[in-house]
Amino acid sequence: MKSLNPKLLLVLALVLAAVANCFSPSLNPYYYDILITIGINIVLAVSLNLVIGYTGQFSLGHAGFMAVGAYFSAWVTLNFGFVLGATTPATVAVYVLALASGGLVAAAAGLLVGVPSLRLRGDYLAIVTLGFSEIIKGVIQNAEPLGAQRGLGGVVQHTDIFWTFSGVALAVYGILALVHSTYGSGFLAVRDDEIAAEAMGINTTKYKVLAFVIGAFFAGLAGGLYAHFKQFIHPEGFNFLKSVDIVVMVILGGMGSTAGVCLAAVILTILPELLRAVSDYPWLPEPVRNLADNRMILYSILLIVLMLNRPQGLFGKLNFGSGKS
């Protein structure tokens, strides 16, 4: 209450995104690509952080929800792109509707996964979510209208800096507003002690499912942004490794620290690009030069070192507007 009005910050972020968007034509396309990818990864990481970091439910299926959002929104624009006419405002309106509906359908999928989470915890829940995202991938791989194994192409590019970072602003604002409210304190209570949470009158079931639904919604939104940026989506783009990528961002950034997770998403998006430069040095040994392709090895080492030395994550308790009372 005594810090800056969060709604004002949200509007400010949206304006900033619009202004930044004006400079995009002068931007090197390579950097542009990285910038958009950073934005999409932040949305993914921040939303997974609600599930893992704030609610304490381990999920390995975030890429699955992203896939649902990506495919559904792409399907919407591909099939209904010209329903409102071919003018720019009309196609943009369809695009926004596609993003929103992609998020909603992903949220429905999140509800489906949230329900088994009532009975499972820890490793078992992780396995169920992993299984669920593999099922989604499997369904897409066999769905002829979605391009099956060939992938789905021809999606019109709508995603730009404005839409991406509006998505980022919405996700960050929505999740922070939620977890800092009395309503959202239920998420943290479930994470800290389920028995005590129930004894304080908190419906732990509701909060766990809610975390999955909201997390999945933003993952679906990120998927929609991704599909309308890359213009081509393939089931393998949403595999287990993509889920692990997002989990690493959350753990590296510090579970339950939105600011830390955002930073980690930025770092882990840029890192593989920097590693690509390493391959230019011929005097380096072969495995080191291939580090960009083998980034999972680096991630694993990073995680082991981090867990041994800083289990609270790189940025620990760092948070936007840490609430003093």
Binding site: S181, S185, E198, A199
Partner: protein
């Protein structure tokens, strides 16, 4: 009419009968102690009343409503709050937030309110904040409000658990060994605190405690359990001289 009625409640884990055929009731604004040797089933009674375990048979009624088998959060919603034998504060939350979390169940508004934050949201959060600060003030924890709950001294953590339970606005408060690990002067403070809490908030209190001084000192009525059965019930003076209780529990002290 009694506030809490337990009728022929039983609970077993595998072959072990923790509580068998237990019946007792608790009137409004009454302070009752539940004692018994280790493993007598006292905490199990608590868990049955609060819904952590539904009773295997029998019935738990609160305020005239059968609550046996209901989820714990629903039972808390009806007005039963508890503290835990092994303190269960929310480890990552501040003292303030620990108590605020317990106000969650009385929220009039839902999730959209928390996200979109209209005028009603801020009014409600302000009320909650005032309520929490008032409670913390009453129990002398106000100055620690921004510290992590877990960083408080042991006695304060127990006090914070009581404050947190009170924030749910209960009619019945269950205290599970509140004096455990306290020194004699802390125990005296605790006894005053419990009496004060009961009068100030007009509560009924059910107390599990090992410390005889505390139990005899504040309880109006005492129920004694042994191996899950009730072996005696009555005012402290009567319990103190009850031969069955002495044999079961106080015997070796040669009272």
């Amino acid at each position: 009419m009694s506030l809490l009625e337990i009728q022929n409640a039983s609970m077993q884990f595998g072959g072990l009968k923790c509580v068998s055929d237990l019946s007792f009731d608790l009137a409004e604004n009454e302070l009752v102690g539940l004692i018994g040797p280790n493993g007598a089933g006292k905490t199990t009674v608590f868990n049955m009343v609060t819904g952590v375990y539904p009773p295997a048979s029998g019935r738990v009624a609160f305020d005239g409503v059968n609550v046996s088998g209901q989820r714990p959060y629903r039972i808390t919603g009806r007005g039963i709050a508890r503290t835990f034998q092994n303190i269960r504060l929310f480890g990552s939350l501040s003292v303030f937030d620990n108590v605020r979390t317990a106000c969650n169940m009385h929220l009039r508004h839902g999730i959209s309110h928390a996200i979109f934050r209209g005028r009603g949201y801020h009014d409600e959060e302000r009320q909650i904040r005032a309520h929490v600060l008032e409670l913390l003030g009453i129990f002398g924890l106000l100055e620690h409000r921004n510290r992590p709950g877990k960083s408080l001294p042991y006695g304060d953590q127990r006090r914070l658990e009581i404050v947190r339970a009170l924030a749910t606005k209960p009619k019945l408060l269950l205290l599970d060994e509140p004096a455990a690990g306290m020194n004699p002067s802390e125990k005296v403070n605790l006894m005053n605190l419990i009496r004060f809490t009961k009068d100030k908030f007009g509560l009924s209190i059910l107390l599990v405690e090992h410390d005889m001084k505390v139990v005899m000192g504040i309880c109006e009525r005492i129920i004694v359990l042994e191996y899950g059965r009730k072996i005696a019930e009555g005012p402290p003076a009567e319990i103190r001289s009850n031969p069955a209780v002495i044999a079961a529990y106080l015997g070796k002290e040669g009272e």
